[in-house]
């Protein structure tokens, strides 16, 4: 490869990544050379500017047809663009949360590090969404994971934060090893690491021994990624890590990491296993044959997440279990393939809704937890009297998380439910009924927070004042949750107009 080849690549397709990378490097250099007494907090706004610039450049890339550079390892297809939109919106909101995190229990003297590690984690997630090769996929995943391990342990003197980071690094390491072991078999069976070439080879496989190994590889990759997604029975680390990590990091893990995990799962499932055949005659598709495993994971995750959330007194753990439950709902869409047609639209819309409602809930929680130096439920007591605006916002987020009509969460869940009903096998119907039952169960813990907000007498009538930056986050999240709840067509039309039916992603290679 000479200079001419390098220059002939269309580097513009990678512009958002370059901007994030540049911002991260600048921030790390600045943090290194700036004097100790310099306050690192304004760096948040610098990071936010980087994210906004990346978002703008991504918007300008939207009309670009599918592009792949670097020997097809980096692909900017519709799926990548759609997921990057979500990642950048989420990251922008979370960085504002971090900027208004209180200093005393917060990130302490390590704020500078927080901002650039946050950006490298985001960069890993973005690389993952547009990788066309197993190697870039793995490297992106690990860039995200390793940055998140450090982020979780940001509070160096805090025992809980240390413990969270250690649990995360051990569980993350094991899951990476399992995923990679599965991937090494995939490489061995196909002789390539390019996803397109791999799927072509896999479509031709009909030998029963090879199919058996393929099933094994699928199973290992699924188990490894389930750790990352925190789906039951591999969810044990999530509540502990969420509780120990600083609140902005928790918001990051519960939104950005989860989106990234589903992105890698969908990329592997749809670009590799969709084409493979499930039996030696090629009559049953591989996914059709094996999706019962995903269905079992989805069912177990919904039940365990929602049941364990019932007894949580710590709001962060409650939100962690609620996040596990939401991963379960999303897995229903994956297991039923969204009724066969609407998988990507459904997942994308659900994540859009989840992003606004979850970050909004974390924003309210973070400020109250900082003000009260506690993470227990009682910090919400009397919020309706002390700050009516925040109480209304939190109510909207909780109703949306519970899936009450009129909110974006309802529309997202409704699409998943419809997708499951479109299926024709008993598995689909069982999943749909578990989805309904666990949703009703989830009302108990979401509404118990509403009881605290509205019906418990407050010890003080003193008003809680939210800083302007948090108010902006709340406003954006409320508007997002309401608009996409009342007029979901805005988002869906946007999706269809810019990304079509994701055809260039499904038929890659």
């Amino acid at each position: 490869m000479d200079m001419k080849t390098v220059l002939s690549y269309e580097w513009g397709a990678m512009m958002p990544e370059f901007i994030i990378l540049g911002t991260a490097i600048l921030l790390s250099l600045f943090d290194l050379f700036a004097p100790k007494r310099f306050n690192r907090r304004p760096l948040a706004w610098f990071a936010l500017i980087g994210i906004v610039l990346a978002f703008v450049s991504l918007i300008s890339l939207l009309p670009l047809a599918e592009t792949s550079i670097l020997a097809d390892t980096f692909r900017l297809d519709s799926f990548a663009k759609a997921s990057k939109l979500l990642l950048l919106i989420g990251a922008g909101l979370v960085i504002v949360l971090a900027a208004s995190h209180s200093a005393n229990d917060g990130l302490g003297g390590y704020q500078g590090e927080f901002y650039y590690l946050f950006l490298t984690a985001l960069l890993g997630a973005m690389m993952m969404t547009s990788s066309g090769d197993l190697i870039t996929l793995v490297v992106g995943l690990e860039l995200l994971s390793i940055s998140s391990y450090i982020l979780a342990g940001m509070k160096k003197k805090n025992l809980k934060s240390n413990e969270a980071a250690l649990k995360y690094v051990v569980m993350g390491g094991i899951s990476t090893a399992i995923t990679l072991f599965g991937m090494s078999y995939l490489y061995g069976l196909t002789g390539s690491t390019n996803l397109g070439e791999m799927s072509e080879t896999m479509a031709r496989v009909s030998d029963s021994q090879v199919l058996y190994l393929l099933g094994l590889a699928f199973f290992m990759v699924l188990v490894g990624l389930s750790f990352k997604l925190a789906t039951a029975p591999f969810h044990m680390w999530a509540p502990d890590v969420y509780e120990g990590a600083p609140t902005p990091v928790t918001a990051f893990l519960s939104v950005i990491s989860k989106i990234a995990g589903f992105v890698i799962l969908l990329r592997l499932l749809l670009s590799l296993f969709l084409a493979a055949s499930g039996d030696t005659f090629g009559t049953v598709a591989f996914l059709e044959q094996n999706r019962v495993f995903i269905a079992v994971l989805a069912g177990a995750t919904m039940i365990i997440g929602n049941v364990l959330a019932l007894r949580q007194q710590n709001v962060k753990r409650l939100l962690a279990y609620s996040g596990i439950a939401h991963a379960g709902y999303l897995l229903v869409a994956v297991a039923t393939l969204g009724g066969g047609y609407f998988l990507l639209d459904t997942v994308w819309f659900y994540f859009l809704a989840y992003l606004f409602m979850n970050i909004g809930a974390f924003a309210v929680f973070q400020w109250l937890a900082d003000a009260n130096s506690s993470e227990q439920r009682f910090i919400f007591v009397g919020l309706a009297k002390r700050s009516p605006a925040a109480a209304v916002a939190m109510t909207i987020f909780l109703l949306s998380l519970a899936g009450i009509p009129g909110t974006a969460g309802f529309i997202g869940k409704f699409h998943i439910f419809l997708g499951a009903l479109l299926g024709s096998t008993p598995t689909d119907y069982i999943l749909a009924s578990i989805l309904l039952a666990t949703t009703i169960l989830s009302y108990v813990y979401y509404f118990s927070l509403l009881v605290q907000i509205f019906f418990r007498p407050a010890a003080t009538k003193e008003a809680v004042r939210f800083p302007v930056s948090l108010m902006i986050v709340l406003l954006v999240c409320v508007v997002g949750t309401m608009i996409f709840g009342l007029a979901p067509n805005i988002a869906l039309d946007f999706l269809h107009q810019h990304f079509g039916d994701f055809t260039d992603f499904i038929s890659m290679g």
Binding site: Y149, K157, E163, G188, G191
Partner: protein
């Protein structure tokens, strides 16, 4: 040129992987747990290199992949040990079963 069959390498990798997984899930000492994870990742490397030499379509890609895996493993071990040291300063123990301040 000796002719060790591909299956021998695969079995070796599988055994290494299982030992690593067993160690990672059962050992008390966190350093041993981190070493066990390295063992699992090295099993992956053996698989990749064996496939790249003796696989159905021999190609260099597998060896490239294993280089990346090694880099990732090194980064992960570095971060893991750093976190363990931060924890040891506060807690004065490296036993993973004593790290139970958060439950349920």
């Amino acid at each position: 040129m000796t002719s060790v069959p591909l299956s021998a390498y695969l079995v070796l990798a599988l055994i290494l992987f299982c030992i690593g997984l067993y160690g990672a899930l059962t050992k008390r000492n966190t350093v041993i747990v981190l070493i066990s994870i390295e063992l699992m990742l090295n099993a992956v490397n053996i698989n990749l290199v064996a496939f790249s030499k003796f696989g159905m379509t021999p190609a260099i890609t597998g060896q490239v992949f294993s280089l990346f895996t090694m880099t990732i493993a090194a980064a992960e071990a570095a971060v893991g040990l750093a976190i363990l040291m931060a924890l040891y300063r506060n807690r004065k123990t490296v036993h993973i079963d004593e790290m139970n301040t958060m439950k349920h």
